[in-house]
Amino acid sequence: NAGVTQTPKFRILKIGQSMTLQCTQDMNHNYMYWYRQDPGMGLKLIYYSVGAGITDKGEVPNGYNVSRSTTEDFPLRLELAAPSQTSVYFCASSSIGLITDTQYFGPGTRLTVL
């Protein structure tokens, strides 16, 4: 199993550009999450999904959109990128849910907005 994979690993965007961060998991997990991690800080939950077709906002959803059309994929869309969105983005998945289950993290996407 590859686990949780993310693409791209690095990206530089100009202010106002858009992009999609890809996340795929091959563990047949129902739950998937997107976090951002600013330098020297902990992780903040952006969006999460409890299954295909179901998504919900986390702590910091503004400026982002998600979709979950399949169990495996959970892309994160940035519209009109801003410097404040410069961060490392981690995707994670779990089989049961946040409250009782281990989260498996992908390697991250390092995004810089200039």
Binding site: Y33, Y35, G40, M41, G42, L43, K44, L45, Y48, G58, E59, F90, A92, L98, I99, T100, T102, Q103, Y104, F105, G106, P107, G108
Partner: protein
Amino acid sequence: GQQVMQIPQYQHVQEGEDFTTYCNSSTTLSNIQWYKQRPGGHPVFLIQLVKSGEVKKQKRLTFQFGEAKKNSSLHITATQTTDVGTYFCAVFNNDMRFGAGTRLTVKP
């Protein structure tokens, strides 16, 4: 959502010394998780604590959940250079909240 305070922010130790990081909450927690993140890496799950007063050990790592379920600690005995990284606690209350982490550096 639930906020957790994690201290200290940084800790530098000589190899062989002990290390402890603490997570504190103003409200009762249902559970708490601990993660380790190596420099440049992604968070890796270490353990979950659920019961009041629970103590779990993983080799040199000892995890405790307070009796009131408002605080938790991670203690490393006789640190090694492989322990370097940032240790995070995470709690759930409507959504997942991570502490700011304790960055551990170990001098050989």
